[in-house]
Structures are given as structure tokens and as C-alpha cells.
Amino acid sequence: MPDASSVIVLDRVSVAYGKQAALRDVSATFPTGAVGLLGPNGAGKSTLLKSLLGFIVPSNGRLEVLGMNVADRALEVRARLGYMPESDGHIPGMNAVMFVAYCGELAGLPRVDAMQRAHEVLYYVGLGEARYRNLETYSTGMKQRIKLAQALVHDPDLLFLDEPTNGMDPKGREEMLELIRDLAKNKGINLILSSHLMPDVEFTCDHLVVLSKGKITASGTIQDLKGPAGRLFEVRVKGELAPFIAALHAAGMTSHETDEDVMRVFVPGDRGSAGEDQRRICEIAVTSRVQVRHLKASLPTLDEVFERAVGES
């Protein structure tokens, strides 16, 4: 059910391109703040964003953005949204400041305000010096920034960023992620970051929604999805396992056997160092009379969360 802390509510949404289903009966709530929309290519991320913008009409279900039904109030929804598309897009024959001001006017800003905001936003995204250059002369990284600028010029309450770091060099990518993080953390703009790059999502977002084959396979805070605080180790031992596992549990640790000949031992808490935890596991092995053949830190990463969610592990 929608509440004040959610910006998007999806209720049994299905979208199909002809016979090809892109979203299958998707229900989810996107909280305020920065939400990462993660999924492999073709998972339905862009389709979901385009449905929320009203570009695509779902065959079934209801989409609500900022408390408004997209089907009934698409214009009002779009007035409060900023959309940074995945593919390059600009208005031909314009320089950056004209383009961004034009987008501001289209979004409902008076002309003078749109022009003023265009200058401000271009400085903010790092294109201040290049704002009078024709857009067709921009590099890939600059085109990404200009797309962000046009999405921001009318000061949206919710920003859709579709693969915002595509084609950017490492430095540019870092700067773009810093901008996105700043918008979400310091400027109070809610955003949905659609990406297949886990580090991007992890750096900028608090929440995560994982889409796979048109279905949501995981959602929640990144912290929750990664599991409780603690350290994970891969352990392979020779000898009697039962007493060793019992001793681990007695020491407050948990263990899970994997398909391979390796068990995963989770040491809760984040005090001390990984070395200390490894020493404790070795001590337990000695007292349990087993030989440690392999002991390696295996921190739960977002990659693992993603792999679990899309069933690739």
C-alpha cells in the first residue's frame, strides 16, 4: 500500500511488447531517497522507467508516482519528474545553455527563470565552461552530463537515471556518481538509478530493487540485502566436521556448507580485524582436532546479492 515514505508504487504491473513480456505482474514500493534498479540487460529496467513516464501503457496493473496514478495524471507526474534517458538525446542545432533552458521552458518554467536555472545547472554538472558549445561537438561524457542537466533544470522531486555512467571514462564516471550521490544525500532529490553496474548502485543508493526477466527478485536496503554486519570466511578443513561446526556455533558463529568442498563461516559483529577472526577460527579448529586446509575472507558483496537474486550463482 502507498505511504508517505514511498515515491513509486507498482501494483501487479505487466507490460508486453507484442507477445514478448517485459514486466510480469510486478508489485513493489520504492521508498524515498536513492533507489537502485539493478538487473541484467533485458531485465525490464528501462521498460519500467518508460512505463512510469507514461511512454508505455501497461497491459495490466497500476503505476503510482508521487501519489499520482500515471494513467490518469501523466502530465502532472512528468512535471515533477526528471528523466535522464539511456541513449543520447538532444535538440539539434542548439548549444548547451539553449538546450537546457528550452527543456526548462517545456517543463513549465518561465523563460527568464529557465535561462537562469540552465546556467546554474550547467555549472553544477561541470559544463559551465562549455555551455555555449554546440551539443553535437560534445564528447560522450559531456553528453551524459547534459542529459543530467536537462533532467534537473526544472528541479524535479524525483529523478529517473537510466544507465547514467554509460560510456564514461573512470574519472568522469566517478564525478557523475559524486553528483548523483550529492543530489540524493544533500539536495533532497529522490532518485531511481537504473543500472547493471553494481558499484554504481552501491555508491549512490540506499535501497535496491533487483529485476530479472521482468520480475522483481529482491528488494530492500542494501545493508539488509547484504546481510547482518560481520565477516564471512571460506573454510575447508580435514577431519571430523561435526565437532568443529558445534564449536563454531558455541563461539557464536554460523556456518553454511556450499555445493563445493568449502563451508562458509560467518563471524557476526564488526569489531576487531579479519585477522583476529581468522585466528579464532584456527583456534577452534585446533580444539576440534581438524586441519584447516583453506581459510579465506569472503565478504558478502552486492555482486553476490545480485547473483542470488537473478539466479546466476
Binding site: Y17, F55, D88, G89, I91, G93, C103, E105
Partner: protein
């Protein structure tokens, strides 16, 4: 000491216009963009030469009435003027219209436009306004000014009161040419990402239908087949508007229906092609 200007992102505190004026923003930007091209501006000025010639004609006939035997001032003169401007309409339609949607499609701009609080109808309306504004500027505006010149030079409303239908006829005939050309060109522009290809397509459509008419005229020996040509249909309907006998054997209602059909097909094409997302099935 002045404070350092904050170049960080600031929330917008001003007022916002309600949705519904996007078409005007698009139209105004498009008009400014075209007027900034010197060659286009020069052509627009060139398009007024027939107006100057006709103005001289009106002046001479008013001053020397016997000159009216050679170049009379009557309703037919205004019809001829509107029809002569047809060739200028053709060139301006290609110049101003071919890239209107094609360039946006090439630059992926439709998704930018339609992610704003803007209806597809407003986008199409804005683009149409650009083309219609320039076409009316070389058809309706000079035609109406010619009527004003006639009144000014003669110093009476006698001509107008004797030919009351001339003003609505000039308006209708100009709008007919402008609307058919604008809708057709905009629909063609939405079909491609290349404005050059669109220009070729439009030229081809006009000349091909004309060639087909010429061929059928030779084969059948009757101008009953004039309905296949876009420009002949316009001439036929213009005759009706100016209360003259139709110049072709094609029933005028058929010409009217062909032109209405062309506009409806264009609207249908625009409805299908102007979308925020292109679905490849």
C-alpha cells in the same frame, strides 16, 4: 567584498506554468531557429517579390484605368496570386518542414520532449505551427495585404463590396494549400531520420502524382483523372472557392475528399510515429 556565488544545485522557488503551453515554446524556438539562418531569411524576402509586382500592377491600373485591359484587377487576379505562391509554398515546405521531426528522430529528441509535461498533440501542434506560420507568411499575409493595397490605392471599398467573397476566398484558398502541405510534410518528416530523404520523398510525391496524371491524361484523353495529382486537386478546389468553373472534369467533391483523405492519413501517420518509445516488433 562581494560573496562568492554559490554554484551548487539550488531548489527552484519560483512559479511554474500549468501544462498546455508547450506547443508555443516549441513553435517559437523553431521559428527563431529558422529565422537565424540567413539563406532562409533571404528566401522568405524573395517570396515577397510577386507581392511587390502585384502591388505595382494595382497601382498602375488604379492610376491608369486603361491598363486594366492588359492586367485587370479582379477576383481572378487574387486567385492567380494565391496559386503562383504555390511554388514558393513548395520550397518553404521542404526547407522548413523536412527536418521538423526527422531531425528530432535522428537526435533521439522525442524521448526528451515527451518526458516533459507535454502531450504528443502539443509536440505535433508546435511543429505544425512553425511550418504553418512561414507558409501563411508567404501566402495569406501578402494576399490580404494586396487587398489592403487595392483599397488604399483606389481610396474606396467599391471593389470589396462588389466582390464580398474575395476576402474569405483568399483566406480559404491560402489555408487549403498551407494545411495540406504542412500535414503532408510533417507526416513524411516523422517517417525518417534524414531530412534530405524526407525532402526527396515530398518532392517525389508531388512530381510523381503529377506524372501519373500526365500519363493517365494521355491514355484516357480526359481530365477526369486529375484527382490523382495533389496540386491539380488543390487547383480544382481553389476554383470552387473563387466561384469559378472547375478547370478539370474530376468532380470537385472528389478533389475535396482526396485532400481531406491526405490530411487524415497524415494525422494517422503522426499518431503512430510520434511516440516517446519506439517499439520494434
Amino acid at each position: 567584498m562581494s560573496p562568492i556565488h554559490d554554484q551548487s544545485y539550488r531548489r527552484y522557488q519560483g512559479t511554474r506554468q500549468p501544462p498546455g503551453r508547450g506547443w508555443a515554446v516549441i513553435a517559437w524556438a523553431g521559428i527563431r531557429n529558422l529565422l537565424a539562418r540567413k539563406a532562409f531569411l533571404a528566401f522568405i524576402l524573395f517570396a515577397w517579390i510577386p507581392f511587390i509586382v502585384r502591388t505595382v500592377q494595382i497601382y498602375v491600373v488604379t492610376m491608369y484605368p486603361q491598363a486594366g485591359n492588359l492586367a485587370p484587377i479582379n477576383a481572378k487576379m487574387f486567385q492567380d496570386f494565391v496559386e503562383q505562391q504555390g511554388s514558393i509554398v513548395f520550397f518553404i515546405t521542404i526547407w522548413a518542414g523536412a527536418g521538423l521531426i526527422a531531425s528530432d528522430r535522428r537526435a533521439n529528441a522525442l524521448q526528451i520532449y515527451l518526458s516533459k509535461p507535454l502531450l504528443r498533440l502539443e509536440y505535433i501542434g508546435g511543429k505544425l505551427t512553425i511550418l504553418i506560420a512561414f507558409l501563411l507568411e508567404v501566402t495569406l499575409l501578402p494576399a490580404l495585404l494586396l487587398i489592403c493595397m487595392q483599397i488604399a490605392f483606389s481610396g474606396s471599398f467599391a471593389f470589396i463590396s462588389n466582390n464580398l467573397y474575395v476576402i474569405p476566398a483568399v483566406i480559404l484558398a491560402s489555408l487549403l494549400r498551407v494545411i495540406v502541405a504542412a500535414f503532408t510534410m510533417l507526416a513524411l518528416s516523422s517517417l525518417s531520420k534524414s531530412s534530405r530523404y524526407v525532402a526527396v520523398l515530398y518532392t517525389g510525391a508531388i512530381f510523381f502524382t503529377e506524372a501519373v496524371y500526365g500519363f493517365l491524361l494521355v491514355v484516357t484523353g480526359s481530365s477526369r483523372v486529375a484527382w490523382v495529382s495533389v496540386s491539380r486537386n488543390m487547383d480544382q478546389v481553389t476554383d470552387l472557392i473563387f466561384r469559378h468553373a472547375p478547370r478539370y472534369e474530376t468532380p470537385t467533391i472528389v478533389s475535396v475528399l482526396v485532400l481531406i483523405g491526405l490530411v487524415i492519413v497524415s494525422i494517422s501517420v503522426l499518431e503512430r510515429r510520434v511516440r516517446g518509445v519506439e517499439v520494434v516488433k
